[in-house]
């Protein structure tokens, strides 16, 4: 049709020297993929801290870091899917807290571990479903619907507990957050294993299934997606259910680790979760990014926090440092896209 002399990708790949191809491929990947760039930054940061502090590169410290950001990262996978699908979920922090509170309350009222955990997860998925319906059916902007849900969820936490933390959770429940699993030479915290497993599952969902293809399509251009026959309302509901569900997993792991379900838990975490996704190169315009970005984004924030503590940076100034990182990360991404 349009007879310009461009070749198809396949033909290009057939020619050229192998080594050259590898080099240009690597350069292209780093240029194109924010995830690899960020991974590089993470490695440099870790390298610096390993040399300049005695404590950073100890398995205890590394696993503490992993455990500390695992629940943020898990919630960030759900958030990533929402943002890729063209939305935003401000209720993630409240849903984390509420699912922890519900599981804990059921436990202290004598329900089994299995039932309590399932109830907490189900509640997270249900609140996500409500978000999705509000956004897709009543056409509320995602920001407003989930802002409302954030407040409703937090209110439920306070109301149900009377403001008191729920304590004395059973051993079987604390297992999830506190158990270490031997992997090769190390004892890896169970939440970190959950995090990796969920990252892989999320990646496969987004990259290999029709649901994933449709999430990217709806986030990239909702009108085009619906003209192409994609049920955009259903996809919208799906991503908020996933976000609620992942937030609930994060919330239950957090509660299990801390051994107490406080109504004030995870306060403001939604911003950390969104920041993890954004640092990881997931565009708030939708349609672009990957869960690996959210994972690396969450890791960078936690390593930065840890590094600031280890190097004796005053703790009160930490949020400013994190904020600067968010701005710089997104700025780099914007520059690259020009």
């Amino acid at each position: 049709m349009i007879r310009q002399k461009w070749n198809l990708e396949i033909e290009q790949r057939e020619t050229g020297v192998q080594a050259q191809r590898f080099l240009s491929l690597t350069a292209g990947l780093i240029k194109r993929s924010q995830v690899l760039t960020l991974l590089l930054i993470l490695v440099v940061m870790s390298g610096y801290l390993s040399i300049h502090t005695k404590t950073f590169l100890t398995s205890t410290n590394i696993f503490n870091i992993l455990r500390a950001f695992s629940w943020i990262a898990i919630s960030a996978f759900g958030q990533a899917m929402v943002i890729i699908g063209g939305g935003i979920d401000l209720s993630a922090g409240s849903v984390m807290a509420l699912s922890g509170v519900i599981s804990a309350m059921l436990l202290v009222h004598g329900a089994g571990v299995f039932v309590s955990v399932i109830a907490g997860l189900g509640l997270g998925a249900f609140l996500g479903y409500v978000n999705g319906v509000l956004i897709s059916k009543t056409k509320l902007p995602p920001f407003i619907a989930t802002l409302g849900m954030m407040s409703i969820g937090r209110g439920l936490c306070y109301g149900l507990t009377g403001g008191w933390p729920v304590r004395k959770l059973s051993e079987g429940f604390l297992f999830f957050g506190q158990k270490d699993i031997p992997v090769l030479l190390w004892k890896v915290p169970l939440p970190a294993i959950f995090m990796m497993a969920l990252a892989i599952i999320s990646f496969i969902l987004l990259n290999n299934t029709r649901y994933g293809y449709h999430i990217y399509a709806v986030g990239g251009n909702e009108l085009s997606a619906s003209l192409a026959g994609i049920n955009t309302g259903r996809i919208t509901i799906l991503i908020y259910i996933l976000s609620g569900f992942f937030a609930a997993i994060g919330g239950i792991l957090m509660t299990s680790r801390l051994g107490v379900a406080a109504p004030t838990a995870a306060l403001g975490y939604e911003l950390d979760i969104i920041a993890a996704a954004v640092i990881g190169g997931i565009s708030l315009r939708g349609g672009e990014g990957s869960v690996w970005g959210a994972l690396v984004g969450a890791a960078i924030m936690q390593v930065l926090r840890n590094g600031l503590v280890l190097t004796g940076f005053p703790a009160y100034w930490q949020p400013s440092a994190i904020g600067a990182v968010i701005i710089v990360a997104v700025m780099l991404d914007q520059l690259k896209k020009r």
């Binding site: 049709m1 299934t209 449709h214 990239g220 251009n221 085009s224 997606a225 003209l227 026959g229």
Partner: protein, 251 residues
């Protein structure tokens, strides 16, 4: 050709569509005959896009009936329309700019490897896209290029090209040459004739009367949401069509 013994493949009777208080279509009777190229013309706001969106399942009519090969159908959504053999190239092209060429080629109907339609068959996506684009001599820098980096002509070619493998009986094209230069327009019109040779019935919307007279068998004119005429190409002139479009003969 609409002879008495040729039945319409698509027939619409008394179609009405309102948006709020606006009558986008009012009591429109429309027919598309087997293996013809029908040009749908009219001024801006005449209801052309609304009419084809009713056929494509994007809008459902407020009143009226649609028949495909004589059978009354209620087209519920774009997917249903495709199931009925209706393929559409929208004026807005319906491409997702953040996705790459291959993914846009199969947008909304990704082939899957399993019976439940879950696991996307990426290999099939790449192969079918390459083969179709090669067959049509459409040049695209790379199948992995996000559509936002393509030129207007390349996007148009992609939007037209991706309907080809599906073998639609009824093909609708809304302004397929609007974004194109002279040479590229000629190529798209060539493709339209080619599709006719393969047995498809085609509705093409265009503002360009040269294109219309170049490719169409019949011309259907809308004005203010109403049908004002349908003329065989060899029985009409550009002047008459312009008069129908603008309503000049009524003055």
């Amino acid at each position: 050709m609409p002879d008495s013994d040729v039945r319409p493949i698509l027939e619409m009777k008394g179609i009405c569509k309102y948006f709020g208080g606006v009558h986008a279509l009012e009591d429109v009777d429309f027919e598309l005959y087997e293996n013809e190229i029908l040009a749908l013309v009219g001024d801006n706001g005449a209801g052309k896009s609304t009419l084809i969106k009713v056929i494509a399942g994007v809008h459902s009519p407020d009143r009226g009936k649609i028949y495909i090969q004589g059978k009354n159908v209620d087209i519920q959504n774009p997917l249903h329309a495709r199931g009925l053999g209706i393929e559409t190239v929208y004026q807005e092209l319906a491409l997702v700019e953040t996705r790459d060429v291959a993914d846009n080629f199969f947008l909304g109907r990704e082939p899957t490897k399993d019976r439940f339609g879950i696991w996307v068959d990426k290999k099939k996506i790449m192969e079918t896209t390459i083969n179709t684009l090669k067959k049509l001599a459409i040049s695209i820098p790379s199948l992995r290029t996000p559509v936002r980096y393509l030129s207007g002509g390349q996007r148009q070619a992609l939007a037209v090209g991706r309907i080809i493998p599906w073998g639609g009986r009824i093909i609708i094209m809304d302004e397929p040459t609007a974004a194109l230069g002279v040479e590229q327009s000629a190529e798209v019109l060539d493709l339209v004739r080619q599709l006719k040779k393969q047995g498809a019935s085609i509705i093409i919307i265009s503002h360009n009367l040269t294109h219309v007279f170049g490719v169409a068998d019949r011309i259907f004119v809308l004005r203010g949401g109403k049908k004002v005429g349908s003329r065989l190409k060899h029985e009409t002139t550009g002047d008459e069509i312009v008069k129908l479009i603008t309503g000049a003969e009524l003055v």
